[in-house]
């Protein structure tokens, strides 16, 4: 099957490189699951293991899903996927951990997360392997519901595309942090709409790229009603000839007064051949809002490097220390300690 993929002529795909996807779509999976999977030690909670898009282990409802999307990769997701629904006030303890293993081919899977009023969940998705993992996730949060959704992309090669479509009810919170620290290219898309007053959305990401790797992210946070708050914290690190691209937009609808939106996009270039693209956008149709955006791209602070070295820290270790500090802005947003430590461990492995 020939994939119908967007071209670079389309503005939201201008920095993308999807050239590897056709071959991955035609590849055959090896089916070999690594011995060691990145489970986070946690007393309570649920574990789900998907291999090449099929549920291998764990208890979750799999069934027909209809998530409307116009996203060109999201449309590939298929009609059957997993579903997590929590009833009113339901807050199961521990983490919902989902490990997605790709064994070299392409797999597509939709998912829905529906939290009723005041329900609460903390989900960690880990992506390992070598193929193309394509995920479309529909998220609906009821009044006062609270979802923590943290993703980490590891694995030596291949591609991960994550398409999130979230709708947040009154006073709901959606907090997401993403770490891309393996060798896989990524395309991360998010559309988060605040449809209830006083909702809160936070998106943090640390994108680490080297070699010829590409991370490419596009996020829209749409404030449709008053008194919503949104925070974005993007930290991109590119070495060698790698590229990280982030397009982050905040839209404030005409009636969405008292919106409070912030976006911070920072890029760190570790070599001359590396590329960081940062495109922060604000589109505001209300007059009583507080929106701030900042974008900066630079190299490691030479004065800080020398300061560290003058105290005995070798150059590579000094670079790692400063790079770690750079991405800490994003990773420190993760509230659960065991999750944060696991993400840091992945980042440390990248720095080493």
């Amino acid at each position: 099957m020939l994939l119908d993929l967007p071209s670079n002529r389309s503005e939201s795909w201008r920095w993308s490189d999807l050239s590897a996807l056709q071959a991955l779509a035609e590849a055959r999976p090896t089916g070999r699951v690594p011995d060691k999977l990145p489970w986070i030690a946690c007393d309570k909670g649920v574990r789900l293991l998907f291999v090449d898009g099929e549920l291998r282990d764990g208890n979750v409802e799999i069934g027909p899903l209809a998530i409307a999307t116009s996203h060109p990769l999201g449309r590939l997701a298929g009609k059957s996927g997993w579903s997590l629904r929590l009833g009113r006030g339901h807050a199961p303890p521990g983490l919902v951990q989902i490990v997605h293993v790709s064994t070299g081919a392409a797999d597509h899977l939709p998912a829905e997360i529906v939290l009723d009023d005041d329900a609460q969940a903390s989900i960690v998705e880990s992506f390992v392997g070598t193929g193309w993992t394509n995920r479309l996730t529909g998220i609906t949060l009821g009044k006062g519901a609270r979802l923590m959704l943290h993703r980490r992309v590891a694995g030596p090669a291949g591609f991960v595309s994550l398409i999130d479509q979230a709708r947040l009810g009154e006073g709901a919170s959606f907090i997401t942090a993403t770490l891309a620290a393996g060798g896989r290219d990524t395309r991360l898309d998010g559309e988060i709409e605040l449809i209830g007053e006083g909702a809160f959305a936070e998106a943090a990401a640390a994108l680490l790229a080297r070699g010829r790797q590409r991370h490419d992210a596009s996020l829209v946070i749409r404030h449709s009603v008053p008194a919503g708050t949104s925070r974005q914290m993007w930290r991109s690190v590119a070495d060698d000839k790698a590229a990280c691209s982030v397009a982050a937009r905040v839209e404030v609808a005409r009636g969405a007064q008292k919106t409070d939106g912030e976006q911070s996009l920072k890029g760190l270039l570790l070599s001359r051949g590396a590329t960081i693209n940062a495109k922060p956008e604000l589109e505001i149709f209300a007059d009583d809002v507080k929106c701030a955006h900042g974008a900066s791209v630079g190299a490691l602070d030479r004065a800080a490097l020398f300061y560290l070295q003058s105290r005995g820290v070798a150059p590579d270790e000094a670079k790692a220390l400063l790079t770690r500090a750079f991405v800490a802005d994003a990773l420190d947003r993760i509230g659960e300690e065991e999750v944060r430590e696991a993400f840091y461990a992945d980042a440390e492995a990248w720095f080493a």
Partner: protein, 263 residues
């Protein structure tokens, strides 16, 4: 009686530690050091004085190996080894410490993390055992207490949000923790009130006034030298040592200024 210049001294109490000969250096292609000669033995404190632009900070940076400071001529030996062949972190592992005139802020890296990384890197390089987190914190607390720096500040990012005086105290806390054999202190006294000066001066004496250690104390003013009494005073002008003497030279400079010597 002390000889007029330590660079011509042949006999001494301590072992030869640092030997600078005919040192020339440029910054951005501009000649800043124009033939410095200086010998520092263990147990000695040398004050380097001189007007702005005379090359004092450049000398400090060249000795510490800052990129962009190019040595064009001359040699520097530390304990008989070629210092200029060493990377900055290797110089530190060999016992050299640079107290910065303008300590650098490092957002996102705590003082504790920074110093434990630095100390253990040095210890590894010297083949010594690393300190555990507990051992390190005990050491850090002792040194912070001695310099009057709140331990809570040690847990904060390096120098971020620190006042000028706190940054200088932090340099001395770092020095106390690292416990170097040769310290080059670049205007550690600048920007300090008299109380802070006393605390820092006492810190320098406590950490470095020892038979096996030495100090190059770069300063503009006599007042630090009242607390940390130098064995030798050198006057730097236009990238050369134009005069050397004992502590009385600093007093003379304080009274008469650099005018004639720098001319």
């Amino acid at each position: 009686m002390r000889p007029a210049s330590s660079s011509i001294r042949t006999s001494n109490d301590g072992d030869l530690m640092l030997k600078i000969e005919n040192l020339h250096a440029t910054v951005d292609g501009k000649a800043i050091l124009n033939g410095i000669g200086l010998t520092v033995n263990a147990g000695e404190i040398h004050a380097i004085m001189g007007p702005n632009g005379s090359g004092k900070s450049t000398l400090a940076y060249v000795l510490a190996g800052r990129p962009g400071y190019e040595v064009t001529e001359g040699s520097v030996m530390l304990d008989g080894e070629d210092l200029l062949e060493m990377e900055p972190h290797e110089r530190a592992a060999h016992g050299m410490f640079l107290g910065f005139q303008y300590p650098v802020e490092i957002p996102g890296v705590s003082n504790v993390q920074f110093l434990r990384t630095a100390l253990n890197a040095q210890r590894r390089a010297r083949g010594e055992a690393e300190l555990s987190a507990g051992e390190f914190l005990k050491l850090a607390r002792e040194q912070a207490d001695a310099l009057g720096l709140d331990m809570e500040m040690m847990k904060r990012a390096v120098n971020v949000g620190f006042s000028g005086g706190e940054k200088k105290r932090n340099e001395m806390v770092q020095m106390g923790i690292i416990d170097p054999r040769l310290a080059i202190l670049d205007e550690t006294d600048s920007g300090l009130d008299i109380d802070a000066l006393r605390v820092i001066g006492a810190g320098i004496n406590r950490i470095l006034r020892k038979p096996d250690k030495a100090v190059l104390l770069i300063t503009h003013y006599q007042r630090l030298l009242d607390i940390v009494e130098p064995d030798f005073v050198h006057v730097l002008a236009a990238g050369r040592i134009v005069r050397s003497g004992g502590p009385e030279l600093a007093v003379e400079l304080e009274r008469e200024g650099y005018g004639e010597m720098a001319a």
